[in-house]
C-alpha cells in the first residue's frame, strides 16, 4: 500500500498495526491470570521477546534511515560503545548512557560537517 490510499491506509494500519500488537496484549491479560511467574515457558517467551527487540535495535544502529544513512558506521558504533561504558560507570542509570551516546554522536556529526 502507499500513504495516499485514503481509507485503505487506515485499514492497513488498523490490521497490520493495531490488531497485530493488541492480540499479544490481550493474550497477555489471559496468560497473566494463568501463566506461572517462575515457569520455564515464561522464561523462554521472555528470551525470544528480548532477542526480537535487540535485533531491531541492532538494525536501527547498523542500517539507519534518513540523515544517519550517510554517517560512518564507526561513529554510530563508537557512540553506542562509549555510551555503554558510561552507563555502567554511572551505576546503570539510563539517562547517563543515553546522554553520553547522543553527545558522542552529535560531536562526531558536527566534526564531520553534517
Amino acid at each position: 500500500m502507499s500513504w495516499d490510499d485514503g481509507w485503505w491506509a487506515y485499514l492497513f494500519i488498523a490490521i497490520a498495526g493495531w490488531l497485530a500488537t493488541d492480540i499479544w496484549r490481550w493474550l497477555g491479560v489471559v496468560a497473566g491470570n494463568r501463566l506461572k511467574e517462575d515457569s520455564e515457558a515464561l522464561n523462554w517467551v521472555r528470551a525470544v521477546a528480548t532477542a526480537l527487540v535487540a535485533a531491531v535495535v541492532a538494525k536501527l544502529i547498523l542500517y539507519p534511515t534518513g540523515v544517519l544513512e550517510q554517517s560512518p558506521l564507526w561513529l554510530r558504533l563508537g557512540a553506542v560503545i562509549i555510551g555503554t561504558i558510561a552507563f555502567f560507570v554511572g551505576r546503570q542509570k539510563p539517562a547517563v548512557g543515553i546522554a553520553t551516546a547522543i553527545a558522542v554522536l552529535a560531536t562526531g556529526l558536527l566534526w564531520l560537517g553534517f
Partner: protein, 245 residues
C-alpha cells in the same frame, strides 16, 4: 466503594498516575517520539496517519517496523507478520503486569482495554511504582499514567510534525538515534531476570547476522533462534549452579 482516608480516592490516584508524565522515562519517550516523527516525515507518512498510528499501535518498535514495511512496499500479510512478531514481547510484559495491579474484583474487560497502553516505558514505570500504590488503586494509577502518555505523545507529534523536516541534520540524526539507545538502556536497567541480559546480547549479534543470511525473515529468525539459544544457555548455567549449590 468505601475508601479509607489514608489511602486516598480513585481520582487522586488517577491524577498521581497522570503526574508521571513529568518523570524521566516519560521525557525520554517524548524525545524518542519527536525522533519517530522525523522518521515518519522522512518516510512521507501524512500527519493524520501518524497520529492514528500512535493511538492505535502505541508500541514504538512495532510502529518503526510498520512504517518500514509500508516504505518497502510490503503487502498486508507481510506487514502484519513483521509487526506481530516484533510485538510478541508485549504478551509476557502484560502477563507480568496484570498480577501486580489487579484485585479479585478487577473486571477482565477493563484489563483488556488498559492493556492497550502497555509498551516499554509505561511497563517499566508501572512495574517500578505500583509497589507504592495501595492495591485497590493500582489499576486506576496505571490508567492515569498510560492514557496521559499516549495522548501527550499524539499531541506532541501533531505540534512538531511541521517542524521536524526543517530540523538541522545533526538534530534529526540524534533524535533518530535516541530510539535504539533508549531501548538498550531501558531493557538492561529494567531487567529482572538473568535471561534478559543473555537474550539482549545474543539478539544484538543475531539481528545483523540473520539480516546478512536471510534478510526477509531476519527479525523472526533472530528472535526465535537467538532467544531460544539465550534461554538454553541461561538454563544450562542455572542448572549447573543449582547442582553445585
Amino acid at each position: 466503594m468505601e475508601e479509607s482516608r489514608d489511602e486516598g480516592t480513585g481520582r487522586a490516584w488517577f491524577l498521581a498516575g497522570m503526574r508521571g508524565i513529568v518523570s524521566l522515562p516519560a521525557m525520554i519517550l517524548m524525545l524518542s517520539f519527536v525522533g519517530f516523527c522525523a522518521f515518519t516525515a522522512q518516510a512521507g507518512a501524512p500527519l493524520e496517519q501518524v497520529i492514528f498510528m500512535i493511538g492505535a499501535v502505541w508500541a514504538l518498535p512495532a510502529k518503526v517496523i510498520l512504517v518500514s514495511s509500508i516504505m518497502s512496499g510490503a503487502n498486508l500479510l507481510t506487514a502484519f507478520i513483521a509487526v506481530t512478531l516484533s510485538s510478541i514481547r508485549l504478551m509476557p510484559m502484560v502477563a507480568a503486569l496484570v498480577p501486580e495491579i489487579r484485585t479479585t474484583r478487577t473486571p477482565t474487560w477493563l484489563l483488556l482495554v488498559l492493556s492497550h497502553f502497555v509498551a516499554i516505558t509505561a511497563w517499566v514505570f508501572a512495574m517500578e511504582r505500583v509497589q507504592a500504590v495501595p492495591r485497590q488503586h493500582r489499576v486506576t494509577f496505571f490508567a492515569g499514567f498510560g492514557i496521559t502518555l499516549v495522548l501527550a505523545n499524539m499531541a506532541l507529534v501533531a505540534l512538531v510534525y511541521r517542524f521536524v523536516a526543517e530540523f538541522p541534520p545533526v538534530v534529526a540524526g540524534c533524535l533518530f538515534f535516541l530510539t535504539p539507545v533508549y531501548f538498550l538502556a531501558s531493557i538492561w536497567s529494567s531487567a529482572r531476570h538473568p535471561v534478559i541480559y543473555v537474550a539482549l546480547a545474543i539478539g544484538l549479534v543475531a539481528g545483523p547476522l540473520f539480516y546478512w543470511l536471510a534478510p526477509e525473515f531476519d527479525i523472526l529468525l533472530a528472535g526465535a533462534g537467538g532467544g531460544t539459544l539465550a534461554w538454553a544457555l541461561e538454563r544450562t548455567w542455572r542448572k549447573r549452579r543449582e547442582v553445585r549449590a
